[in-house]
Each structure stands twice: as structure tokens, then as C-alpha cells.
């Protein structure tokens, strides 16, 4: 027997019971997989996705302004490639990092495959296909350049690079919404995957600092701060998100200063943020509880002020502990954006419902929902993979 066969036998057929379980599971997987494939390749009519791919991507964004979104996509791809390469070219000093680990080659393969196959599967016009290829090529080129020449950049410039990410986010907002000499595009015309990502990234970015402050407030010695945080957290955790969303549409106009949330899109984004912050605060609190009291005492006895002790000693340890549950919150936040369709926003699910309501695509629900599920699965998988990589990078105790 070859080693492979021997291992298969050991793992899968060690005892008769093992063998039976293996055969049954294989049969189940085979039958299920065959059924899905049979449906996807034989019965499903994917025309509904092909015909509406732009709608799913960006909603009813004006055609003549869509170059702004292409530009934004290209910028995001460039930023991704750049930070990916910079990360790889600066391995932590304490572990042997390779510039091109095997996982990276798999990622490169996936980017290449997706950019080549997906546009043609969606039946995009050739110029559009070419744009996707160019964007993928830009990402990979910058990955290579940053990995190769990143270490040669002067140190002050390298320190400033992370500042580019918030700037890019603001620039993205301007590109999408208009302003600064760009023609304004009303939020009611935003939609599809773009709106889903916009709402969830806005909420994720803002709920993080808010959640950390709430968690610290809940452990504060100042009674007013502590009780304020408790009331906030319990209020937002005690009500269903959909209720809060409806409430927000009606109330937020009064509560927030004028101009902050004039549009339904922004009101919903704020509700999502405030809601997620309450859950995030609980995740951070569990992280804070995991840091021994002696850490704060040691920091304070060295002369660090309380804010210094928290930012350099307590929070880095607490956030590392809380990271998996925080990412869990982010993932459910991303999925919760589907509720926005109930208050009339055209995010992915809202778009899907208008497409399915179109008489031309009657009865194509399965195809639409299947696509939606795959899209969400991809986003959540990306978040999960990112968090696991971050955890490995942050955790020196895996060495001990």
C-alpha cells in the first residue's frame, strides 16, 4: 500500500463503525453535491443575474457617473495590494516570515481566477471584462512591488502609510456621494453590494472606538459614567435591531444635530453603529476582565498615567483576547444589514426583492437567493480569514 492509501485507511476506515460512518457521509455529501450541481448547471437560469449584475453591484447609480466607482474599486485594489505586500515584507522580528508564503500563492491564484472567470460568466461586455483584469493586475503588481521594494522606503514615509487608509475611506465617500467638484449622487440612488459594504464598513469603523469607550466606561469608578454605559448597553441589547431601525428612521432626525443624518441611508448607518457598539462593548469588557489586575498596577507603579497604562498595557492585551468575539460581532453586523431592506433601502436583499418582483424574472428566486448567499459568504469569509491572520500576528504567546 502506498503511504497515502495507508493514511486514508487509518483516518477513514480504522474500524467497521468508522468505515460505515465514512461511507454514509460520503454518500450524503455526494448526493447533496450532485443535486446542487445538477440544479446550478442544468436547471437554474442564470440570465437573471447576468441581466442585473450592475443592479446587484451598485443599485441605480447613474450610468454616466459610474466611472467614479470604477476609480474607487481600482484605488481599493491598489491599497489592498500595497498593504498586503508591506505586511509580508515586514515579518515580525521574532519569527521567520517568508515574502511569498504558500497561502499567498493560493490567494494570487484565486484573484487571477476570479478576475478572469467571473466577468465572462456574468457575460459582461469585453471593455468591462478588460477593466476587471486591469484592476486585478494592479492589485497583484502592487503586491509584488511593495513586497520587493517596500523595505527600501524611508522610515517616516512607512510610518505615514497607514494614515492613507482613513483618507482613502473619506475619498471613497466623496467619490460615491459627490462633492468637491463632483456631481452629487443622492443616497437614494446607492444600492446593491456597494450599499451593503458602505453601511457595514461605516458601522464597523465607528462602533469599534465607541464600543471600547463604553466598555471602559462600564468599568469606570465614576458612577455616572458607569451607569450611563450600563443603561446604554442594556437599552441597545434589549431591543430588536429592526425595532431600532424603524425607531431611528422616525426619531434620529430629532436626536442628532441637523445635517448629520438627513438621509435614510445615514440614519440607518447610525442605528447600526450604535447597536453594534453595545455588543462590541460586551466583547471588549470580557477582554478587559481577562487582563490580570497586576498589569494595571505594574504600569501605574512605573509612573504611567491611567490613560497611558490603558493604551499601552491593558487595551492591547484585552483587545487581543476579545478579537475573535469582536470579529463575530462584525460578521453578524454585516449580515444584519439585510434588515435595511425592510426600511426600504436598496442594499443587496432590497435589490434582490425588486429584481424578483420584475415580471421578466418571475420564479427565479432560487438563483437570486443563491447568489446573495454566496456574496455574503465571501464577505464573511474574508473577515474571518483576516481576523485569524491578525490573531496569529498579534499573539506572541503562540511561541511560548
Amino acid at each position: 500500500m502506498t503511504p497515502l492509501l495507508r493514511r486514508l485507511r487509518q483516518d477513514l476506515f480504522a474500524t467497521p463503525a468508522d468505515g460505515l460512518v465514512t461511507v454514509l457521509l460520503l454518500a450524503l455529501i455526494g448526493a447533496g453535491g450532485f443535486a446542487v450541481l445538477h440544479w446550478a448547471l442544468g436547471q437554474a437560469q442564470w440570465a437573471v443575474i447576468r441581466a442585473n449584475s450592475t443592479l446587484f453591484a451598485v443599485g441605480r447609480y447613474p450610468l454616466d457617473q459610474q466611472w467614479r466607482l470604477w476609480l474607487l474599486t481600482a484605488l481599493l485594489a491598489a491599497a489592498t495590494g500595497l498593504s498586503w505586500g508591506m505586511l509580508r515584507s515586514h515579518p515580525r522580528p521574532d519569527r521567520g516570515g517568508s515574502l511569498w508564503p504558500r497561502n499567498d500563492w493560493m490567494a494570487v491564484g484565486m484573484v487571477a481566477l476570479l478576475s478572469l472567470a467571473l466577468p465572462s460568466l456574468l457575460g459582461l461586455a469585453l471593455p468591462l471584462q478588460l477593466r476587471w483584469w486591469a484592476i486585478a493586475a494592479l492589485l497583484l503588481l502592487l503586491r509584488w512591488l511593495a513586497g520587493r521594494f517596500g523595505p527600501l522606503l524611508p522610515a517616516p514615509l512607512k510610518r505615514c502609510l497607514p494614515l492613507g487608509l482613513p483618507l482613502l475611506y473619506l475619498l471613497g465617500m466623496v467619490l460615491i456621494g459627490g462633492g468637491l467638484a463632483l456631481e452629487p449622487v443622492s443616497p437614494s440612488q446607492w444600492g446593491g453590494l456597494m450599499l451593503t459594504l458602505l453601511e457595514s464598513s461605516f458601522a464597523i469603523l465607528l462602533c469599534f472606538p465607541l464600543g471600547v469607550l463604553l466598555a471602559l466606561g462600564r468599568r469606570s469608578d465614576l458612577p455616572l459614567l458607569r451607569w450611563g454605559s450600563v443603561v446604554y448597553i442594556e437599552f441597545f441589547r434589549g431591543a430588536p435591531l429592526i425595532t431600532l431601525l424603524f425607531l431611528g428612521q422616525n426619531m434620529l432626525g430629532f436626536l442628532l444635530p441637523g445635517g448629520v443624518a438627513p438621509e435614510r441611508v445615514w440614519r440607518a448607518a447610525w442605528v447600526l453603529t450604535l447597536f453594534a457598539a453595545a455588543y462590541l462593548a460586551e466583547a471588549v469588557r470580557s477582554g478587559l476582565a481577562a487582563v490580570p489586575r497586576g498589569q494595571l498596577e505594574a504600569a501605574r507603579s512605573l509612573g504611567l498615567s491611567t490613560p497611558q497604562a490603558f493604551t499601552t498595557v491593558v487595551l492591547p492585551q484585552a483587545l487581543r483576547v476579545a478579537l475573535p468575539s469582536m470579529v463575530g460581532q462584525f460578521i453578524s453586523l454585516l449580515q444584519d444589514t439585510t434588515l435595511l431592506s425592510l426600511i426600504g433601502l436598496m442594499e443587496l436583499l432590497g435589490t434582490a426583492r425588486t429584481v424578483m418582483a420584475n415580471p421578466a424574472f418571475l420564479g427565479r428566486n432560487a438563483e437570486v437567493y443563491f447568489t446573495l448567499a454566496v456574496l455574503f459568504w465571501c464577505c464573511c469569509a474574508a473577515l474571518g480569514l483576516g481576523s485569524r491572520a491578525l490573531e496569529r500576528r498579534l499573539n506572541p504567546s503562540t511561541l511560548a
Partner: protein, 259 residues
Amino acid sequence: MTSSVSPARTDAAPMIEACAVQKWYPNGFHALRGVDLTVQRGEVVVIMGPSGSGKSTFLRTFNALEDFQQGSICVDGIVLSDDLRQIDAIRQEVGMVFQQFNLFPHLTVLENLTLAPVLVRKRPKAEVEQQARALLRRVGIAEQSDKYPGQLSGGQQQRVAIARSLCMEPRIMLFDEPTSALDPEMVREVLEVMRGLAADGMTMVVVTHEVHFAREVATRVVLMADGEKVEEAPPEQFFTNPTQERSKRFLDQILISNP
């Protein structure tokens, strides 16, 4: 030691002067019942006593890790009060070594040492790193500076903790049972470092059960029991001819396990 040559404010004044310190815990427990202690510059005072006697609590009042309700404490000419700036000023002058080391596990050994001097004293990083490496050499772990605390043995961790305190160039060092959490074979390497420190003239207050250390190094030994100071005497007199009945009982007990 660099700190011993730094100019003292008033050389004659005591380093620590604690008068009639009283402390109640929030649950009503009377932990310190009017304790006095004066520590002169360059002295090594060892505080002994059974567990629950308040010796650690007393030590921790010196850098305001514990508050107290009555009495007064004056450290290096600064009166301990609720004023936060005064507390921060005192903590910069007072180094503290804990039973559980309390190293920062997410930072390397070198970063553990340089964090406070760079952040609090605003000293240039390169200069602090040089000093930190010298201190690590002095406590005998120069080659571990890029490791994380979790990769070191208990004795090595405690020596890093001592070096971390020294890197702030304190004028006084407090030790809260520094060897109690260590395996027996590692106790010696830590005590060795502390001996060297005392020989260099560092003012030290040490809560410990190590009789040999107290005998050889201490200038005075203090016995505490039930939140009170029972006896205060030079080590020879304390160990051979204690005046109080309570001291004799305590010595009988620890000398059986610690001949």
C-alpha cells in the same frame, strides 16, 4: 547604580516617613492599625510577618497602590495625598517588584524596560535602550532581550521585573514577596540581584520570608501582625533576642521551616 549618585533633595531627611497609618477595607476590615515606619537613605528594611498581617498592604501604601484613611506618609519629601500629580511624581521615584512579576506579556523584554522611561520621562529611545541593555547585563539576562516574558523562567522574569523598575532610575525600591512565587532553585538568582542592589546603596523595603536574606542584608527588620508593628530591631537582635512574645512565636514557626 546611577540613581544612588543622583543628587538627593535633602540628604538628611528620611526617604520614607509613615506615621500612624490606618486603613480599613471597604468591607470594614481594619487592615492597618496605626503603623509607623521611618526608612533612611541607603537603608534596607525587611518587613516580616504571618500572612494577613497587613505587611503587603502597608508596603503598597508607599506608592499609593492602596489608599489609607488616617495618618500620613511622606516619600522622598513628597507628602502622599489625593492629588494625582503628586501620586504620579512619587511613583516615578519608587520602583516596585511584585510577587507575580507582572511583566507585560505582549511586549518583548527590552520593550518592557523601555516603555516607562520613554513614555513618562520622555527620554530618547536609543539612549533608554542602551541603558536597558546594560541593566539586563547586570541582572544576567542580556541575551534574552528580544524574547517575550512567557518564554522565560520564573527567576528570569523576576530579574527582568527588577531591571524594568531600575530603568526608571528610582530612588527607592519596594519588593512585595519577590521570591514567593518562584521554584526554590530560582530564589537564589533573584536574591543575588537584590543583594547587589543593596550593596550599591539602593534604599529598599522588602516584604519577604527569606530569613537568610534578612539576616545578611537588612539594616533593620520589622515584624507585623494583625495590622500592627510588633517589633523593629537590627537583624542580629531580632533573630537572636526578640523582645516581644509575638515575635518569638513567629520566629519559632518560620525557623522550623527555614533553619
